[in-house]
Structures are given as structure tokens and as C-alpha cells.
């Protein structure tokens, strides 16, 4: 198994090592480890001008993914709190509709969303990638299930004693759900960071691209300059690898439990 794990890791390691090679060595990969370590690929990538503004794409991606993550965490936890603790009228039915909607494949939404976003004049702006993403059902589904699994008697009593719902949400329910909200936030961030189809369809100008679409575009225009494209890829992946190393246990554990919930 260790061998297989190392085999799986090899492409990623090769990507990083090759990004440090001068172009001549990339094309003649006699040794995996660079003979002459160089930062020229990274310098080249980060020093780009208008036609491929890597730093700009990075900032776009950071801004969009962070906004989506915050909004999803707030909206979903509020909705789950309303359904499970405040017993909002029709909440159960609403949750059922949300879960049913999760079965519909994302590609169905492309054309209508494109039309709606163009009417709103949101195409080619970050709003096109942020606002629709807050409507995803996974967060409400997951947090409602989590809140139902922990007893709500204390919260019920606090409400009857006249505690304000907002205070209850902020001081009791949200802290209780912190692990589940954190898991949701991590998955939302990764999903948004890696989204390819959304920015491909909804973004027009090169400077408004997010990283995945930007580097795909760059790759196709600098064909076969692998040292540079791999440096781009390594830089684009670095933030996620940091997230992964920091939350490795949580990510893998919640991934593991997705099949068991059924």
C-alpha cells in the first residue's frame, strides 16, 4: 500500500520538482531532481502582464472562494437553525424540496443561469460566481442533520424563558455546531476554488478569470512550455495543499462518513 501511495504522490512531486527546472532540462528529463535549481519559471509566472495576470487570478479566486464560503456558512446555519430549533412553518417540507433539488445535475442550470445573470448584468463580475453558489443545498442538508442529532432541549427551554432567537443562535447553537460548520466551510472552499465550468461560462475578460480557467487558458496558448505551465499549476495548488495539510484529518474523516450517513 505504501508503494501505491507513493505512486499516487509521484505526479504531484514531479510537478513541483519540474517547476524548478530550466526549460532545457524539462524536455530531457534524465533525472527527476533538477540539476540546476532555478526560480525563473516562478518569476516569469508572477511577473506576467495583461495577457495572463496570474496574481490577479489568484486574488479573484481568493475573494470569490472566501465570499462563497462565508455566505454559505451563514445562510446554511441560519436555515438549519430555523428548521430544527425554531420549527419554522413548512421547514420540513422545504428541507425535502432542497434535498430533492440536490439530485439535479449542475449542467442543467448552466443555460438558465447564464440568461438570468445576463439580465442582472452580473456576467463577468464576481457576483455571478458568488451569489448563485449560496443556494447550494448541501450545507442546509448537512447542518440540519447534525442539529437534529444533538438534543435541543436546552435551546427550547432558553426560548421559552424569553431568550432572543438571535442570541440563542450566536451564543449556543452556532458554537455547538462549530465542527460541522467547519467541515462545511472546508468543502465549500475547495469546491469553489476548483470550480471550472462556472467561471468558464460566466466570465468573459481574461482579468476576471479565476485560477482554474486562467491557467487552462494560459496552458493552451503556451503549448509545450511545461516548466512554466507546471510552475503555474504548482502555485495555483499551493493554497489548497496548505488547507489540506492543516485540516487533513477533518477533510478525510468527513469524506469517509459521506457513505455511512445513508
Amino acid at each position: 500500500m505504501w508503494l501505491l501511495a507513493l505512486l499516487f504522490l509521484t505526479p504531484a512531486v514531479l510537478m513541483i520538482l519540474t517547476a524548478f527546472k530550466p526549460e532545457a532540462e524539462v524536455l530531457n528529463p534524465a533525472s527527476a531532481i533538477p540539476k540546476h535549481w532555478t526560480l525563473e519559471n516562478f518569476a516569469y509566472v508572477l511577473g506576467w502582464a495583461e495577457e495572463a495576470p496570474f496574481t490577479r487570478w489568484l486574488l479573484n479566486s481568493l475573494f470569490i472562494s472566501t465570499s462563497v464560503t462565508l455566505l454559505v456558512a451563514v445562510f446554511s446555519s441560519m436555515a438549519a437553525f430555523a428548521i430544527t430549533r425554531l420549527k419554522a412553518p413548512g421547514g420540513g417540507l422545504f428541507l425535502g424540496i432542497v434535498v430533492a433539488s440536490m439530485m439535479i445535475p449542475g449542467q442543467l442550470f448552466l443555460v438558465p443561469l447564464y440568461l438570468m445573470l445576463s439580465r442582472l448584468h452580473w456576467l463577468d463580475t464576481p457576483a455571478a460566481l458568488i451569489v448563485p453558489a449560496t443556494a447550494g443545498g448541501f450545507g442546509v442538508f448537512m447542518l440540519s442533520a447534525f442539529m437534529r442529532s444533538i438534543p435541543g432541549a436546552v435551546e427550547e427551554a432558553a426560548l421559552i424563558d424569553g431568550c432572543s432567537p438571535l442570541g440563542l443562535y450566536l451564543n449556543v447553537s452556532l458554537p455547538l455546531c462549530a465542527p460541522a460548520v467547519a467541515t462545511l466551510a472546508i468543502f465549500t472552499f475547495i469546491g469553489s476554488w476548483n470550480d471550472f465550468m462556472g467561471p468558464l461560462v460566466f466570465m468573459d475578460s481574461v482579468r476576471n478569470y479565476t485560477l482554474p480557467v486562467g491557467i487552462a487558458l494560459y496552458q493552451s496558448s503556451y503549448y509545450a512550455e511545461y516548466g512554466k505551465t507546471l510552475a503555474t499549476s504548482a502555485l495555483a495548488t499551493a493554497p489548497l495543499i496548505i488547507v489540506f495539510l492543516a485540516f487533513q484529518r477533518q477533510i478525510v474523516d468527513s469524506m469517509a462518513s459521506t457513505g455511512l450517513k445513508e
Partner: protein, 291 residues
């Protein structure tokens, strides 16, 4: 106001932000997609939006490109899903048998899943490159001629599936490993005492015990595989000779390169129906079947 009324009111207020987003960006698009599918709506000539009944659907069924894209998608599903399930199950059983370092291996196998599709594709384009690619360099070292990884019709789909397996196996293996660890050890011990070998243990205990989770991963991965887009789009642009252009790429090109939005919406619904039919059939079959 009574206590219950007050609680209901604040419940609605707390639900409102998400409910509004859901209505605007899930329910409304579904309605728009449904209406569009029965319209001819071409963005090139602004004035032409009109009702055409089921024409978009009957056009799609007769459209050779649609049929071809459907066959390509099916080929991907048929290669990818069984490959993914077998490979991940093997990986999960391998990890389950480990006594030390299981968590590290688990994380390493999952790592490729963190890469986005563009990075994954760039990396593998470098591996697959006919002239400068790593794979052909290694083949040359072994004295074998260069392989047409992405440039030959009969190779391209296999290469796409291989990359996708590297990308997606770890996630499914983690889910299956968690399920394996839930099987009570006593069942295996009792069967082993009764003299059952590894093959019967696997087919009579492991598989039946895993059935609910296997069903889950088969159905979710089938749904995902039917929607494959990024991997072939980035690696081959659907080529050579459209041999890897699946349905989602055809829909994307119809709607956003040729601006035939009504036709694109109708094809999206057809794909949805196919996916739903497959998922339902698998659900029925695997639940009843004696896997």
C-alpha cells in the same frame, strides 16, 4: 403574540436569506430551463424567441452529433465507473489490512482529489505529450516506441479515464474503507473458524456487508461520470475527430459557442432524464440483486 407565533415568525426570518437564494438560483433556473427547452431561442438573432413545442427534443434525437456525444459519454461511464469501483475497493481493502500508517496512506491517496481539473489536466498533458511527454520518455528508455496517448482515436478515451482514476480513486477508497471498518470483526472470525477461504469471505461477507455503501458510490459516481466535461475538454478538446466529446461539452458548445440556448436546454433535460433513469435502475437492481 403567543410564544409559538413568535417562534414561527423568527423561524421564517432566519430561513429567509437561504430560502430567497434557493428560490432565485435553484427553483427559478429550473423553471427557466423548462420553458427554454420548448423555445427556439438563438442569441445571434435577437428577435427569434418563439414556442416550437417538442421540436428541440425530436431534433436532438435525430442529431448525429448528439448521438455521437451520447455514445462517447456512455463509453466514459462504462470504462470509468467499474474501473473506479474495482480500484477503490482494492485500495480500501489494502488499507484495511494495514496495521501501521493507515491514516498517512489514506491522506496520500486522497491528495490528487484536491487538485482542480485544470491542474490535473496540465500535469497529465505533460505526461501524455507525444514528443516531450514523460510517459513516452520512459517508454523510450525501455526500448518501446512512442505511444499516441491523446492523438489516436482508440487511445484518447483510455488516457482520459486513466487520469480520471488517479484523480478520483482516493475519495471513493476512503468512503469504502470507512464502510469496511464498520463490519464487525466477529463475522470474519466465525467464518474463518468454519474454514472459509479468502474468496468466500470476500463474496459471502465483505460484498454483502458493503452493499449499501457500494450502492451509494456506484450511483453517485455514475451520475458524476455522465456529466464529465473538464477532463476531455482540457486534454483533447473532445478530439481526435470528436471521439472524446461527451454530452456536456456538446451542450456547452451548442449553448455558448453557437448561442442556441433553447436547443442546449432541451439537451440538458435529455441528459438529466438519462442520468435519472440509470440511477434509478442501478438502485433497483443493486438493492434487489444478490451482490
Amino acid at each position: 403574540m403567543t410564544y409559538v407565533q413568535k417562534r414561527s415568525l423568527s423561524g421564517l426570518l432566519f430561513l429567509a436569506p437561504y430560502a430567497l437564494a434557493f428560490a432565485a438560483f435553484v427553483l427559478a433556473p429550473i423553471a427557466v430551463a423548462l420553458v427554454l427547452a420548448f423555445m427556439q431561442f438563438d442569441l445571434t438573432s435577437r428577435s427569434t424567441i418563439h414556442f416550437v413545442g417538442a421540436k428541440n427534443f425530436s431534433d436532438a434525437v435525430k442529431d448525429d452529433y448528439f448521438r455521437q456525444a451520447f455514445v462517447v459519454t456512455l463509453r466514459y461511464v462504462v470504462l470509468m465507473v467499474p474501473g473506479l469501483i474495482v480500484a477503490s475497493l482494492g485500495m480500501a481493502m489494502g488499507m484495511n489490512a494495514m496495521t501501521r500508517g493507515r491514516n498517512t496512506v489514506r491522506a496520500l491517496l486522497f491528495l490528487p482529489g484536491m487538485f482542480n481539473v485544470a491542474v490535473t489536466a496540465i500535469l497529465w498533458m505533460w505526461f501524455y505529450d507525444g514528443q516531450f511527454g514523460l510517459f513516452n520518455y520512459l517508454l523510450k528508455g525501455m526500448g518501446v516506441g512512442p505511444a499516441p496517448w491523446l492523438s489516436d482515436k482508440s487511445w484518447a478515451m483510455g488516457s482520459i479515464v486513466l487520469m480520471s482514476l488517479w484523480w478520483a480513486c482516493g475519495g471513493t477508497a476512503i468512503i469504502l474503507l470507512a464502510a469496511l471498518q464498520q463490519i464487525p470483526k466477529q463475522i470474519f472470525e466465525a467464518a474463518a473458524i468454519d474454514g472459509a477461504g479468502p474468496a468466500p469471505l470476500f463474496s459471502k461477507i465483505t460484498l454483502p456487508q458493503l452493499k449499501p455503501v457500494l450502492l451509494f458510490v456506484v450511483v453517485t459516481n455514475t451520475i458524476a461520470a455522465f456529466q464529465v466535461f473538464g477532463q476531455p475538454y482540457l486534454l483533447t478538446r473532445g478530439g481526435p475527430e470528436l471521439s472524446t466529446r461527451g454530452l456536456v461539452q456538446y451542450i456547452y458548445e451548442t449553448a455558448f459557442n453557437n448561442y442556441r440556448l433553447g436547443y442546449g436546454a432541451a439537451m440538458s433535460w435529455l441528459l438529466f432524464l438519462v442520468v435519472a433513469a440509470f440511477a434509478l435502475a442501478q438502485y433497483r437492481f443493486l438493492r434487489r440483486g444478490s451482490v
